[in-house]
Amino acid sequence: MLGLNKKDVGLLLVVIVLTVFAPFILNPFPEGSALAQFNAGYPDLMQRLVIFGIFAIGFNILFGLTGYLSFGHAAFLGAGSYAGIWMIKLLTLNIVPAIIASIVVAGLFSLLVGWISLRRSGIYFSILTLAFAQMSYSLAYSVLTPITGGETGLQPKVSDPRIFDAALAEGTTPRANFFGMFMNDSYELVLGGWVFTFNVGYYIAALFLVIAFYISIRIFRSPFGLMLRAVKSNQQRLNYTGIESRPYTLAAFVISGMYAGLAGGLLVAMDTQAGAERMFWTASGEVVLMTILGGAGTLIGPVLGAGFIKYFENIVSKINESVLQAWFSFMPEGMQDLVVSIFYPFIGKGWHLTLGIIFMLVVIFLPGGLMEGGQRISNLFKKKSNTDSGSGKSSPAAAE
């Protein structure tokens, strides 16, 4: 089906089901209950989950397959954002041109950066990409202010030209739409104590995620994908087998750049703003983390990694001292204060500390990410049931 084997169709179905039912899955707790703070089923967060999922899927095509560690992919996301916002300002509030432009511009930009950076490999490659990203970031803040809006960034205004759209009345807010469906429109379903939100923007982004995931499966299973894995495994052998590795790595670089551009374009489509902070190198580090955490080189890992990080970023950032106090209120006074003060640095504004620790733990103990972790656990169970059945057979023999 769709040129995929059974296992891959299964994976694709998992992603489709997860995205379609995300408003339910992410909102398991009734509104107003104590656990409602763990809900993540609101549009803004769900949009981010899938958009960063797309970003990580793309990054994985480069890093997971070829092993080239780029520290500058946020630059492509940023370039995509700027391209998108200009389409929204100049042409129309319909997101289609914005998304096309963001992919094209990010693709061209990554072609330039990749063409230069891929002359070197290993750490040199990482530093070259980092240098490019930092350069773009600095330029976006300084000289390129007429294009990027500098520190304030860019937002659509009522007075923008928007040559394809009818003029907006003064005082209205320009809203991005997809042929008349507004991104921030939502439908709320109330079932008993539960409130589920179905957001237009989310489902459009989710559709892109499914397409992006499907394409990535195809790439992984293609001869091209095989060559990329060969690049990672042994470039020397590949060259002596008659393959020129650079066009392959460059193609992977550009494809992953286009994915990043798509993510940038979608971010603009959702929140209609673009700023240079999206290009900062910590943003590049974040996508590296998502990919590694989920499992670099696996198909679904990066999606899970992106979801995990964005979800916990949101939840952890929301927890404050009084929430902690409430959690540990069952403890005796002194102990409660102690426990709260131990956890306090990791919550709220301490999210980055938690993130850094997760990062280190994953690299140290679980270089294969969550996917490898899952594998290990399932192996453990398999082994257990194997030895169980083994002992079951052997014990009668022993009795004889």
Partner: protein, 343 residues
């Protein structure tokens, strides 16, 4: 001419910082073969050693001053640093004033300890892992370290002044026989440059003239051979890491009066220092120092108004631009050796 001298001078302090950090990075990379993305964090920790010491020195208790009264006529409470009780008021004031230079003594044991813990606890286990893993784990560590500092010291820069005698500027031109040329230079920056020179000289002579240094240099040239000689190279490498950490830390300590330290200063410098190392040539100590000063000075030239008028924004990107050109034309950097990091 005056303008050129001024720009060279202006580039020296940043260049010194780049050179010191890059020197440590190269030491670690050359000896341990580890790419340490947490090296900037060591620079930052050094700076916060200075902040901490000056806070400790100014720790105060309230004392009722019988000679003064507040506006209600009650006896005035004043904060008196504990240090007054120890050494008396005037000596106490001198010590507080000299907090930053004194922090050197304070920072050396702390930095060496931090370095030891880092190497023993973490880096050691990554010698045989791929470079990508080394980058990632030290990157994670850098985030953790900077967030810890942020938690304890807040996000805002903390002004940490130089001793009174080094505040202000002087006419450097006068020393060169260019009176009134407007080459005004802050004292502390000169101090920083001199300090950096001493440290760099110290590290080089240590490596050049001691048996320890000789073994380390041999290890940098060919790790396996040295291992075969039966020399316990691992222990030496731990000490090297501590030394590199101390160099970065001291660079941070002395940098505090130039730029008020904040929690992300390490990262800001790290990215540039890596570029410096690459330009200098991975594994080349003199290359790192040379490139550090060169890029610092280049950056300051790029900030001249004349230059900015023709090439707006060039000061922001000059270092990256140079790095790209160098990497593409001289893949091994200015003074890099063959075979380093070329998997």
């Amino acid at each position: 001419m005056e303008a050129i001298i001024l720009q060279i001078l202006n580039g020296l302090d940043k260049g010194s910082a780049y050179a010191l950090i890059a020197l440590g990075l190269t030491l670690i990379f050359g000896t341990l073969g580890v790419v340490n993305f947490a090296h900037g964090a060591l620079f930052m920790i050094g700076a916060f050693c200075a902040v901490t010491l000056s806070r400790i020195l100014t720790l105060s208790h309230e004392v009722i001053d019988p000679t003064k009264t507040d506006f209600l006529g009650k006896p005035l409470k004043v904060d008196v640093p504990y240090i007054y009780n120890l050494v008396g008021e005037s000596a106490g004031n001198v010590i507080i004033d000299w907090a930053v230079p004194l922090s050197i003594l304070f920072a050396i044991p702390i930095m060496i300890l931090v370095g030891f813990i880092m190497e023993r606890g973490l880096i050691r286990h990554f010698y045989k892992r791929p470079h990508a893993d080394q980058i990632l784990v030290t990157f994670g560590l850098a985030i953790v370290l900077q967030e810890i500092i942020k938690y304890f010291y807040g996000a805002n820069p903390i002004p940490t002044p130089a001793p009174e005698v080094f505040k202000g500027s002087f006419d450097f031109g006068a020393m060169l026989g260019l009176e009134g040329a407007g080459i005004i230079y802050p004292y502390w920056r000169l101090v920083y440059f001199a300090f950096a020179t001493v440290i760099i000289g110290g590290v080089f002579s240590f490596l050049q003239f001691t048996t320890f240094g000789m073994v380390v240099r041999a290890g940098m040239a060919d790790r396996e051979t040295v291992g075969l000689l039966g020399i316990n190279i691992d222990k030496r490498f731990t000490i090297m890491f501590g030394l590199a950490a101390a160099v970065a830390g001291l660079a941070g300590v002395m940098y505090t009066p130039i730029n008020s330290p904040n929690y992300h200063m390490g990262m800001d410098f790290l990215v540039l220092s890596f570029v410096v190392v690459v330009v200098g040539g991975m594994g080349s100590l003199s290359g790192a120092v040379l490139a550090g000063f060169m890029l610092g000075i280049l950056e300051s030239f790029a900030s001249m108004t004349v230059v900015l008028e023709t090439l707006p924004g060039i000061n922001q990107i000059i270092i990256y631009l140079v790095a790209m050109i160098v990497l593409l034309t001289r893949p091994r950097g200015l003074m890099g050796k063959a075979g380093v990091m070329e998997e």
